[in-house]
Every structure is written in structure tokens, then in C-alpha cells.
């Protein structure tokens, strides 16, 4: 909102305009009335069969369990619902019973963990995504080709284009262009073919459009039911978007039914992601979800019964469900508690990555799949529908299985350092059975690949990438200069000095705690190479010796963690995060918060000293001058008044003024208040000198609580800040209502850390507390704001909401370490950050070698 509009009368008129101008869609009014009458009439009819009285709140409360289980007759259910609308006591009683339950599921089918071969595919996709950022950029920033977006393959009944000039009939065989709105008539059915080969069955009275962006295709469904048979794609996604959700797929069969009350998505085959606001649900065959509680469950049979291929779909669903159950019995490799590959890593390794050998898992999954394929003609017909793709997948799986069968349980990548610069990477693994050399020679010959296979004996003949096979190990490397050391390591692992280095020891410790996927860097030597050591000296971060980032499966959950180890006790800014402890300031943040950042820190006065050590003498001089003018000392009069935990949050509406909150522990409120008043007085004195009015701190006591307002007396110069001292904390916000809400949140004990949504996001670890936390759940809000501000950019808003998935990152301060943990995929992010370091640190010698 513009500042000139902040007249309360104008704002109230605008608010009235916002309410009185809200005109419901006549179609929505009709539908709502129809549903309401249907329930009223039904209640009346059923009511004639019921007898007996319900006496008082106790009588209603005895019915609530059955009401919530939906086992009451419609008449009694209506009566209970009506009473709950009227009676606060019974409503609270009902809510308390529901409290442990999450959002009601439409169908209580648990989301099963991904089948192992899918997890492998995801891991492979991750590596490809990291390695090909330019491809990603093209995919996401590129424009789509011209031409039709879909073709009407078959039409039974009438179909119209909806244009500004009215409805224009569409005939079978016609093409549909970008974002053309199309509607099917009463009793009509149509089959469309999208440009990616997907087919879409459209039921009667549906309205939709198809658009494309880069390699993505989006079918926007305004209303009605469709069944999509998505083609397998090499890139991009097919999206089905409605006003309340977005479904993304790559090769699957599913239905979407969009009505006035919401959308229902049902899956026949494959995997579907349903995004609603900032939440994402993964559906698998037989699963169903809806976007609103008022959209009840429907059997999948009913949901697709209008399709002429419903029998085929249902038979496929049965077979795929059976296959999925069998694949679920194949387990991922367990954690590794030691690594023999550490013994043969190059002695100058500065980056070390380790992943489990997934060949056995892939093999078991493939065997299960083949057995099921042999037994089921339906599944076989489905698999052979796209013979080219099926053959490619089978070929790739076979190759990976074959080569994996020769290797140990771990594959490692090391980045050594040579002459102060990073060298080319070396990939290595143990060899667990005979025949790898013959296998590789055969494959290299077939593929005509530029590989030279060498056993370390005799001269090295040939160029290209070298495959070293020796002493029960295999290594793939580019630089012949690394060969001599690798041969030595493979011949006598015990003599490898790497294990004895501090970095090697930390890696060994990390394995001792169980490793899944691991990426580690020797920050001491990496920072030497990048020349930042001097700059980081005074901050304390120069003491960092290593960073280890891990992803591992704990039970059914995937955990991501990172740890920074220091040479000794943390010092300077690196020591600001204290040991884990309860964060009281977080109890002022509600579960509706979009962002929250909290930390328990060491003594703020000592933190101020650390800042002075990092900043130069010029800053110190300016600070002393300012302190003389103010008549206070920042360290003694402000920092010393503060305690050890603080939170900043965005918690509420972002418009017209963001609802920020800042909560900090205060050990001496009167000292802090006096200091703030002194700052205000000095600001006013300076402002008056320049012809302004300055600022004021207004204090007002209501109901025993003193409210302070820090505001500018000059119009529109500075936003207001309202704050109170409450239970040992200063609680500040842009308005009194925001601060009031913070106090209510604390007093009612309905804060963020008690919400199930938040608890579900927390990583599972040994600590009951944490030292710092970053919480983000802003995707839905930002997406809504983008949609409101730019109606045409719904796709961009959806993309942003998808990127900003809710997440929590927790940090833990140890004496000589910092640890971070999250369920969000921070490993991916870390790899993206480390990859450029690997590439850009290549030595001049290496450049000459390549030439």
C-alpha cells in the first residue's frame, strides 16, 4: 500500500470495498445451494427413521467419536454438525479429539517408500543435474517451439473453442493452439493427443487449455474430469494445473476431476506429484487425494468409469499394485561403518566422495520385475507399449548390474592436490571377483570407447581415460602422472599416509557413525588454494579443518547433514552459535509463520567484542565518536542488557506491511529501554538540526502490559516499531496487532514448535534441542502474491512455490565443531557449490597436459 493511503478512514473504506465488492461466481452459488439443499433434504428424509433424544452437551459429546468416524446416520450427523457450529465447548472437545490427526486423507492409503530402482534413478538424475547446469538453464529459460499443442484424435459429441467472439465448434482432427480454451458439451467425450505423445481423455462439460514452456507441457483444467496417459519423456514434465493444485508427471496414467468444491486426483499407474500451495504429496498406483476436505473419497473404479478404457486401466492398476508390493521388499544397501577405499585414496586428497554400490539392489529389483512381467500379460503389454524406451532401460540396467557385480560395496571419488592445485578426479573401487578385465575389454571394444586398460605392468600403450586394474582394486583416472602413486597405494594400502592425516581421520570417524552418500572437503588446504585464509583469520573460520556432508537413510527417512570441524575450540564469529538449548524466543512464533530464524548464542557483549576484532580501526573510531554523542556505550548499555537467544520471523500477512517479528532475550529491560530512549533523543536532535522533527518513544500501559512505540515524527520517514517486554523477552513488530498476536501465540501455547507440520519437518537426531534453526514455509504465500500481482504468470508462481518447499535446517554447536541437519536436500546444494571449486582450481600444468 502506498504511504499516502495510510489514512485510517481511507484504509477502512478500502477494506469495506474489499469486502462489499466480493461478488461470488453465479455458478459457484448454484453449486453451493444445490449441495446444501441436498444435505438438508437428505437429513430430513433420514430423520424420519431416527428416534431418541440428545440431551445437552454431554449427549452431543458422546456422539462426537461416531460423528468423526462418519458412522452416524445423516440426520444425527447434521444435528451434531449444527450443534458444533453453535457450541464452543463441544467444538473444542471435538477439535481436541482430532488434534493428533493430520489433514484428513481422502483415502487412507499410506504413501509407500519409493521402490529401490526408483531411488537409484533419482540418484542418477541428481548426478546428471549437477553435471549439466547449462542444460538445466536451457531447459528452464528456453522458449517453446511454435505449432499446435494438441490434436483432437477422437470426438464423440460437441466441443467448442471459447473465444471473445463466443463459442466456435471444434472438429475431430483439428489442432489446439497455445492456451486456447476448449470446452466439451453435455454428454460429449474426446481424446486428445499432446505434442509429446501423451493422450488425454476428456469427459463431458470439461474446460481446459494446453500450453508449453521449454520442454514442459501444462494442461490447465478449469473444470471437469480427464484421464491422462502421459508419455515417457526424456526431458521436461507434463503438468495438469487447476486453480488449487498442480500435478506433475513423467509417464503415468492418472485422472483429475476438478469441481466447484475442489479437485480429486487418482492414480492408475506410475508416480504423480500433487502440489497444493507449499505442500507436495506423492501418489502411487491406487492412491487418491483431494484438495479440499469437502471433496469426499470416491472409489477409483467410479472415478474412471466414464472412460471407454476403464477395464484396461483397472486391470493394469491391479498388476502394478502387486508389482510395487514386491519391489518394496527389496532393501537399499545398509549404512557403511568402515571404508577400505580410504586406505587407497591419493595421499593429497582434498575432496572425497563415497556412494554405495547399488548394483545388487538394482539386480534384485530387476529380477522381481522380470518375474512379474512373465506372469502378467497385462503388465507385459503395458511394458512393451513403448518398445524402444523399454529396450534402452533394460540395456542400461543390465550394463550397470554387470559392472556392479564385479565391484565392492562402495565406489569413491577423490580429488587430489598436485603442486598446490587440484588435480583431475580419480574414481576407484574394490574388485570382488575375477573377470572384470575381460568384461571391460569387451565393452570398450563394443562401444569403441577411448579407454586404455592397464594393470600397472609394462608400458602404458594407448591414450584417453586410463582404467587401472591392480591388487584387487580398479581406478579410473585421466592423468598418467597419478598412475605411479595409485599403483603404490593399491600394492601397499597400509603404507598410505592419507589415513594418518587429520582429514583422513575425520573421514574414518564419519564412517564409524554410518555412511550413506558422503562428500567431504579438506577446508584447510582448499582455503589455502583459494587465498582466503588471511581474510578469515579474525573471524575464527580459518580454524575450520574439514567439511563433511552426508545423506543417509535412517528408517524410512532420508537425512541430510553437514559438519564443520575446527582445529581447536571455536573462537571469534565461528563461536557465536552456543551449545544446543531450548529457544524461548521461538515460542512467540505461530505455526502460520512463513520464515523463522532462531539461535541460542554466546554472551552478546562478547559477540560485540568479536565484531570489533573483525572490523578495522576506522570503524572503532567512528563507534567511539557515536558513543560520545549518544552518551552511552553499545557494549555496556545495549549488548550487556541482552540475553542468549533471539528469533526473527515473518509471521502473518506480507501486505501492506510485512508482519515481521523480532524477539530477543533481555536480561535488563530498564537499561535497554533507557538506552533506546537515549538513541531516540539523539536521533531527534540530529533531525531537528536538519529541519526535521525526529523520533519519539511512546509508552502506554494497558491491562498491566506496557506498550512502547518507536516512531518517526516526520511523515513517512521511518516505519513504526511496536514492542513490549514480556517474560524476559523484547517482542517487536511493525504494528501492535502483530506483537499482540505474538503474545497470544506464546500464552495459548500454540506456537510453531508444537505444530505437527513443523515436527514432521525436523530431522531425526540425538538432540532434543538445537543451537540454531532456519524454518521456511513461504512458497504458498509468495506464489499467491505473485499470482495476485501478475495474473498471467501463474506458471512462474507455481515454479517458485515448488522450489520453496517447506523445510527446517537445524544447527548444533559443539566445542570444536558445527553440525547442520535437515530433511531437505542440502547435499544437492552443497555439491553444486563444491563443483565449481573443483573445476576452477585446475593447475596450469593440467591445462598444458590437456593440450
Amino acid at each position: 500500500m502506498k504511504l499516502s493511503d495510510r489514512n485510517p478512514e481511507t484504509m477502512l473504506n478500502r477494506a469495506i470495498e474489499g469486502v462489499s465488492g466480493a461478488q461470488p461466481d453465479p455458478a459457484a452459488v448454484r453449486e453451493a445451494a444445490r449441495r446444501a439443499w441436498s444435505r438438508i433434504a437428505e437429513g430430513s428424509r433420514f430423520g424420519e427413521q431416527d428416534t431418541g433424544s440428545v440431551h445437552g452437551c454431554a449427549g452431543f459429546q458422546s456422539l462426537i467419536p461416531d460423528f468423526q468416524n462418519r458412522s452416524l446416520s445423516p440426520a444425527r450427523a447434521l444435528l451434531v454438525q449444527d450443534h458444533l457450529n453453535e457450541c464452543v465447548v463441544c467444538r473444542k472437545f471435538a477439535q481436541a479429539r482430532l488434534a493428533p490427526a493430520a489433514v484428513p486423507n481422502v483415502i487412507a492409503m499410506p504413501v509407500r517408500s519409493a521402490a529401490p530402482w526408483r531411488k537409484y534413478a533419482v540418484a542418477a538424475a541428481l548426478l546428471v543435474a549437477v553435471g549439466l547446469p547449462s542444460y538445466w538453464a536451457w531447459e528452464n529459460l528456453g522458449l517453446s517451439a511454435d505449432g499446435p499443442r494438441a490434436t483432437v484424435q477422437r470426438l464423440d459429441g460437441v466441443m467448442y473453442r471459447v473465444t471473445s467472439a463466443g463459442l466456435r465448434p471444434v472438429a475431430s482432427g483439428e489442432a489446439l493452439n497455445e492456451a486456447e480454451i476448449v470446452r466439451t458439451g453435455a454428454g460429449a467425450k474426446a481424446v486428445l493427443r499432446l505434442r509429446d505423445g501423451s493422450t488425454v481423455e476428456v469427459n463431458e462439460r470439461a474446460e481446459f487449455s494446453v500450453s508449453a514452456r521449454a520442454s514442459d507441457t501444462t494442461l490447465r483444467l478449469e473444470r471437469g474430469a480427464i484421464i491422462v496417459q502421459a508419455a515417457k519423456r526424456r526431458s521436461g514434465h507434463l503438468y495438469v494445473a487447476s486453480s488449487d493444485s498442480r500435478v506433475s508427471v513423467t509417464g503415468t496414467i492418472f485422472s483429475v476431476n476438478r469441481g466447484v468444491a475442489g479437485s480429486r486426483v487418482s492414480v492408475v499407474e506410475g508416480e504423480v506429484r500433487v502440489e497444493q500451495g507449499s505442500e507436495t504429496r506423492v501418489l502411487r498406483p491406487g492412491d487418491q487425494t483431494s484438495t479440499h476436505a469437502s471433496v469426499g473419497a470416491s472409489s477409483l473404479v467410479d472415478e474412471i468409469s466414464w472412460s471407454e478404457r476403464s477395464n484396461e486401466y483397472l486391470a493394469l492398476l491391479r498388476e502394478i499394485t502387486a508389482l510395487t508390493q514386491k519391489l518394496d521388499s527389496v532393501h537399499m544397501p545398509g549404512l557403511r561403518y568402515a571404508s577400505r577405499l580410504l586406505d587407497v585414496a591419493p595421499s593429497s586428497t582434498v575432496v572425497f566422495a563415497s556412494i554405495p554400490n547399488l548394483g545388487q539392489v538394482l539386480g534384485e529389483a530387476h529380477t522381481v520385475f522380470e518375474n512379474q512381467l512373465r506372469q502378467s500379460p497385462v503388465l507385459r503389454a503395458w511394458w512393451q507399449k513403448n518398445p524402444g524406451m523399454s529396450a534402452e532401460i533394460e540395456q542400461a540396467i543390465t550394463k550397470i548390474r554387470n559392472i556392479s557385480s564385479y565391484l565392492g560395496d562402495e565406489i569413491a571419488l577423490a580429488l587430489p592436490m598436485r603442486a598446490g592445485f587440484r588435480d583431475d578426479p580419480v574414481i576407484f573401487a574394490e574388485v570382488k571377483r575375477e573377470g572384470l578385465r575381460q568384461f571391460l575389454e569387451r565393452e570398450v571394444k563394443i562401444a569403441n570407447a577411448p579407454f586404455t586398460i592397464w594393470d600397472g605392468v609394462g608400458p602404458l600403450n594407448g591414450g584417453g581415460t586410463i582404467v587401472l586394474l591392480r591388487g584387487g582394486y580398479v581406478a579410473i583416472l585421466e592423468n598418467p602422472d597419478d598412475l605411479r602413486e595409485m599403483v603404490q597405494r593399491f600394492d601397499s594400502p597400509a603404507a598410505n599416509p592419507f589415513s594418518a592425516t587429520p582429514f583422513g581421520k575425520r573421514l574414518r570417524d564419519a564412517f564409524a557413525q554410518g555412511a550413506g552418500m558422503l562428500l567431504a572437503g579438506d577446508t584447510e588446504r582448499l582455503s589455502t588454494m583459494s587465498g582466503v585464509q588471511q581474510e578469515m583469520q579474525s573471524s575464527g573460520f580459518s580454524d575450520a579443518r574439514s567439511v563433511i556432508i552426508q545423506q543417509k537413510q535412517v528408517g524410512s527417512e532420508v537425512q541430510h547433514s553437514a559438519s564443520i570441524s575446527f582445529a581447536g575450540p571455536r573462537r571469534g564469529i565461528a563461536s557465536w552459535i552456543a551449545r544446543s538449548a531450548p529457544v524461548g524466543s521461538l515460542t512467540y512464533v505461530s505455526p502460520e509463520a512463513q520464515v523463522a530464524v532462531s539461535a541460542v548464542v554466546k554472551n552478546p557483549a562478547e559477540m560485540f567484542d568479536d565484531v570489533l576484532r573483525v572490523t578495522g580501526s576506522e570503524f572503532l573510531k567512528e563507534l567511539k565518536e557515536a558513543e560520545t554523542q549518544l552518551g552511552l556505550r553499545v557494549r555496556d548499555d545495549i549488548a550487556s542488557a541482552l540475553g542468549g537467544d533471539a528469533t526473527f520471523a515473518l509471521d502473518g500477512a506480507l501486505l501492506p506491511v510485512p508482519s515481521w517479528k523480532f524477539i530477543v532475550e533481555v536480561t535488563n529491560p530498564s537499561l535497554l529501554q533507557r538506552s533506546l530512549e537515549r538513541v531516540a533523543a539523539e536521533m531527534t536532535r540530529e533531525a531537528v538540526k536538519q529541519g526535521g522533527k525526529g523520533v519519539e518513544v511512546v509508552s502506554q500501559t494497558e491491562d498491566g502490559q506496557t506498550w512502547h512505540t518507536f516512531r518517526s515524527l516526520d511523515v513517512n520517514r521511518m516505519p513504526e516499531m511496536h514492542y513490549v517486554f514480556h517474560s524476559g523477552y523484547l517482542v517487536a513488530g511493525p504494528s501492535r496487532s502483530v506483537v499482540q498476536k505474538a503474545l497470544q501465540t506464546r500464552n495459548s501455547r500454540t506456537y510453531l514448535t508444537r505444530s505437527q507440520h513443523f515436527l514432521d519437518l525436523l530431522p531425526r537426531d540425538r538432540d532434543t534441542n538445537f543451537s540454531a534453526l532456519v524454518y521456511q514455509n513461504a512458497g504458498g504465500t509468495i506464489s499467491a502474491l505473485m499470482r495476485a500481482g501478475s495474473m498471467g504468470n501463474a506458471a512462474g508462481a507455481d515454479d517458485l512455490a515448488q522450489a520453496l518447499k517447506p523445510m527446517v535446517i537445524t544447527a548444533y554447536g559443539g566445542a570444536d565443531s558445527l553440525e547442520f541437519s535437515s530433511k531437505a536436500n542440502t547435499l544437492h546444494l552443497a555439491m553444486q557449490m563444491l563443483l565449481p571449486a573443483m573445476v576452477h582450481g585446475t593447475s596450469p600444468e593440467r591445462v598444458a597436459y590437456r593440450k
Partner: protein
């Protein structure tokens, strides 16, 4: 709260006039109730609940529809009060749903996304603020500013004097102006 209620089928059950009579009442008045509830609640789902609630109450409590007097007026006011109650009982703002609203098209002179967003945010605040008012003040404010009735009409509907309506509305406006300044940080008058 104590309540005694007899399950439908015993007394009172459907009104003696039977469901067809009641259906006529529903057809005649549902839209006015639904639209008013939609404006107050901010979304069609809640408005639908309000509509169902007020008709269920009428069915349950009225042995004879003629005893209610002006059924339309009764339902309309019951709908407004039920919608205000519903907003008051919300634990948090459920958000405005634009799904079921008519929004200006991009070519429409009224199409101004920033202004629409601001009005929408302010409107959501006002819905909540009105729900915190005294029920009589809330009803008068809704009738005057959301539904567009003049003071004499409101006085007749609520069986009170025009002077009472005028004074109540003036005080309510003053209070809401103070509240909106605190909530959004506006300048003092």
C-alpha cells in the same frame, strides 16, 4: 452450554408443511443468505456451511413457518449472524478464496492487481475485526457497509430507532479506524 435436542423424526422433525413447502422457502431465499455469508466469510465453502446451518435451524425450531413472520428477513439476519460467528470462531485466517469470485478481466478498467491485492488483504482484516465487535454492532455494520442498506431500513429490520443505528455505526467506524491504524501502522488522525 446446556442444550436439549430431539432427533429429527420425533419432535420437531421436518415442519408440518412438509419438505416441499420448505423447498419453496429455500428456493426463494437461499441466494440472498448465501451471497451475504460469502461476503462476510470470504469463501464459498464457509458460506455454504452458513446456508445449511440457518435452514437446519429453521427446520428444527419452527413447527409452523408462518410463526416466523418475515421468513426472508429472519433467514437473512440469521445468515449474517451465523457468518460473523463462524469468522469469530476461526483459529486463524483461512484466507480469501478467489476461486468462486468474479474478478475483473485484464482488459477491464477495474483490473489493478496491486489494488485488488491490497483491498483483499484489508478486507480479510475487516472480516476478522467485525467478528470481534458486539453482535448488534457487527450486524448493523454488515447491513450498512457490506450489504448497502440505509439507516432507516436497518432500523426497521432490527426493530430499533434510526438514532440508535446512526450512533452505533459512528462509534463502530471510529473503533475500526483506530484498530486499522494499529494493525497496519497508519498515521494518526
Amino acid at each position: 452450554m446446556q442444550a436439549t435436542m430431539t432427533v429429527a423424526g420425533a419432535s420437531p422433525g421436518p415442519p408440518p408443511g412438509g419438505l416441499p413447502d420448505f423447498e419453496q422457502v429455500f428456493l426463494a431465499h437461499h441466494e440472498r443468505v448465501l451471497r451475504a455469508a460469502f461476503r462476510i466469510a470470504g469463501n464459498m465453502s464457509d458460506a455454504e456451511d452458513v446456508l445449511q446451518t440457518v435452514f437446519l435451524r429453521l427446520m428444527r425450531n419452527s413447527n409452523d413457518l408462518t410463526a416466523v413472520g418475515d421468513v426472508g428477513n429472519y433467514l437473512y439476519r440469521a445468515g449474517i449472524n451465523a457468518a460473523v460467528d463462524l469468522v469469530r470462531s476461526r483459529k486463524h485466517d483461512s484466507g480469501l478464496s478467489t476461486d468462486d469470485m468474479i474478478l475483473p478481466a485484464s482488459g477491464d478498467p477495474a483490473w489493478d492487481p496491486a489494488r485488488l491485492q491490497e483491498s483483499s488483504e484489508l478486507g480479510q482484516w475487516l472480516r476478522h475485526a467485525v467478528s470481534q465487535l458486539h453482535p448488534t454492532a457487527a450486524e448493523m455494520f454488515v447491513l450498512r457497509y457490506f450489504e448497502g442498506y440505509e439507516n432507516p431500513e436497518i432500523a426497521r429490520m432490527m426493530d430499533t430507532s434510526e438514532g440508535t443505528v446512526a450512533v452505533t455505526l459512528h462509534r463502530t467506524r471510529t473503533r475500526l479506524q483506530n484498530d486499522i491504524r494499529s494493525a497496519f501502522g497508519g498515521r494518526r488522525q
